[in-house]
């Protein structure tokens, strides 16, 4: 079984091919260059280098959000285009699930945090000790509320993600349970984890068609939120 993984939800651009529980190739770049320019050339690089036949992929797993709206759409459209061209199904992987999967098997609670600005993080809470299980599903929340919730759980926590450098001080000041930060090789998004988790979901039949697949932003567009707030106040504009 061949699963192609695509990850472009943040600054990281990453593509990977997982074949029968083994990572065949992964290309990850964490650099300020638009995913539009990097993602497909990176895929081409690993495909060419390994002589991989794209037609032999069984499904395309895409990190489907939360994350940068534009970044998510580039990964999503890349997956949808490939899915349509190759007539293959897709697997939508919540970004924070795949990040937590980086730390499969560790005893501590895993908490990916992505900076969502305005004191908010995209996060989830995961227990990886005996397999992979989700304690709190992917969501957007206030960093202080998250810290409170983790303190209440009482278990040791490992943080990872681009939210760590942003909220490190708050975490260090407010965490009352033991915690640590994941090291460089596993503390950002990786397409290998997207593809590995994708393999799992593939076997569970969690597939969508390329046409059905769309990012799950976890946040409405600003204009829509503002309109709803206006409507809630009774100021309905229909111009």
């Amino acid at each position: 079984m061949n699963i192609l993984g695509i990850e472009s939800s943040s600054l990281v651009a990453s593509v990977a091919i997982v074949t029968d529980q083994v990572l065949t190739a992964e290309y990850t770049v964490n650099f300020k260059k638009t995913h539009s320019q990097t993602l497909l050339p990176m895929l081409d690089e690993i495909v060419t280098m390994t002589g991989f036949e794209l037609e032999t992929i069984d499904a395309i797993a895409v990190s489907a959000g939360p994350g940068s709206f534009t970044g998510l759409r580039i990964g999503s459209a890349t997956g949808k285009g490939l899915g349509l061209a190759l007539d293959k199904p897709m697997i939508s992987i919540p970004t924070v699930d795949a990040m937590a999967y980086n730390l499969y098997g560790c005893a501590a609670i895993v908490c990916p945090i992505m900076d969502a600005r305005r004191d908010q993080v995209y996060t989830g809470i995961y227990e990886n000790k005996d397999g992979f299980s989700i304690r709190k599903e992917a969501c957007a929340m206030d960093i202080n509320d998250l810290i409170l919730e983790l303190n209440q759980m009482g278990d040791t926590v490992i943080f990872l993600g681009d939210g760590v450098p942003v909220y490190k001080k708050q975490i260090e000041e407010s965490m009352t349970v033991p915690f640590s930060f994941a090291p460089a090789h596993v503390n950002r998004q990786r397409a290998a984890s997207v593809a590995a988790l994708g393999s799992l979901y593939y076997e569970e039949g969690k597939l969508v068609t390329a046409a059905e697949h769309a990012p799950d932003y976890l946040r409405k567009p600003q204009a829509e939120r503002e309109r709803e707030e206006q409507e809630a106040k009774g100021n309905v504009h229909n111009s």
């Binding site: 638009t34 539009s36 320019q37 990097t38 993602l39 497909l40 050339p41 895929l43 081409d44 794209l54 709206f69 534009t70 759409r73 580039i74 999503s76 459209a77 890349t78 997956g79 949808k80 285009g81 490939l82 899915g83 349509l84 061209a85 190759l86 068609t209 390329a210 046409a211 769309a214 990012p215 932003y217 567009p221 600003q222 204009a223 829509e224 309109r227 504009h237 229909n238 111009s239």
Partner: protein, 347 residues
């Protein structure tokens, strides 16, 4: 992009994709002039709630619809991706988030299906819309492109080769239509609503200014006209006078059309063109079509204009433009990026 001349004896089929603003569109075009399918998923109803296009909402709709739209275009043409010779996609100008959906999709499609990819300039697409229904139209000719985002007067020297004679210094013509429509409560999109309202009005009821622009005589300016209309409305409101919407819109439209037509005719005379084409969303405005037709008849010029379906943003026009780029050897790489402010003729 490498340049190599392709043989043109055989038919060339292009799958074209367009997502630069608020229409998700795909089309199959044969030999640049024959449209086998032209599918458009419009988001207008969605953006009407906001009085204009909301970029993030547009981008979200594009990603939701794009595969269905492409599949529908292939199905309607009775062809599969394998039958295509190339894939063409709009990569600018436009809303960057919206463009990126089409660009990323098209690149992955081309890569997965092992097809050449051609990047298309949106305005070149609008100009090329004229090739679809006019087999006799060959460059060189003069083309006026007017839409919500663009106002350009262009010499089409050859396929893919342009000289810009004039452009707007401020608002695009379509933008002025939208703003005036909003001011008189007609709503979004302004173009068709003003066109309709103006049919009942007197175009000479109110004398609005025709902007003269310093420097380039073929440049346009619509912000002064827009302000004059808004001032007129404010003044009437202050005096407690009721605004006669048909007269106001007809007079405003007349001022816009007057400038568009006179610039185009003067430029054609000066540069010795007998063929004049119009393109873009505002090219479906009935007053512009009528006045341009009259002026062309009077001057002895041949006037070309696309059907309304090819004036609005669509992918058939992108397929037409992509064909000529393709046979000229233009190929885009896997690193093709969306360029929101791409200049016409730039590669």
């Amino acid at each position: 992009m490498e340049m190599k001349k392709n043989h043109t004896e055989e038919d060339v089929y292009i799958l074209a994709i367009e997502s630069s603003c608020d229409e998700t569109a795909a089309a199959v075009v044969k030999n640049g002039r024959e449209v086998l399918s032209n599918v458009i998923s419009s988001q207008i109803a969605l953006h009407t709630l906001y009085g204009g296009v909301v970029p993030e909402i547009a981008s979200r709709k594009h990603i939701e619809k794009i595969n269905q739209v492409i599949e529908a275009a292939l199905l309607e043409a009775g062809m599969s991706l394998k039958d295509m010779d190339a894939i063409g996609v709009t990569y600018g100008p436009g809303l960057v988030g919206a463009l990126l959906v089409g660009v990323a999709e098209a690149k992955a499609l081309a890569y997965g299906a092992k097809k050449p990819l051609v990047g298309v300039h949106h305005i070149e697409g609008h100009i090329s819309a004229n090739f679809i229904e006019h087999p006799d139209l060959l460059p060189p000719f003069l083309c006026l492109i007017v839409s919500g985002g663009h106002t350009h007067l262009v010499i089409v020297k050859d396929y893919g080769e342009f000289e810009i004679l004039g452009r707007t210094r401020d608002d695009a013509a379509g933008e002025a239509f939208d703003k005036v429509a909003r001011a008189v409560g007609l709503g979004y999109p302004g173009g068709p609503k003003i066109d309709k309202a103006a049919k009942e009005g007197n175009p000479n009821a109110i004398k609005f200014p025709r902007a003269k622009v310093d420097g380039n005589i073929y440049d346009f300016s619509f912000s002064g006209l827009k302000s004059a209309v808004l001032n007129h409305i404010n003044h009437a409101n202050m005096m407690g006078e009721e605004i006669h919407v048909p007269d106001l819109t007809a007079s405003f439209q007349n001022a816009v059309v007057d400038v568009l037509v006179s610039h185009t005719i003067e430029a054609a005379k000066e540069h010795g063109f007998q063929k004049i084409a119009i393109a873009g969303g505002v090219a479906s405005n009935s007053a512009l079509r009528e006045e341009m037709k009259k002026a062309c008849n009077k001057a002895g010029f041949t006037f070309y204009y696309p059907s309304p379906i090819y004036c609005t943003d669509n992918a058939a026009m992108i397929g037409a433009a992509a064909y000529y780029e393709y046979i000229n050897g233009a190929r885009a790489g896997l690193d093709l990026n969306a360029i929101p402010n791409l200049k016409l003729g730039e590669r």
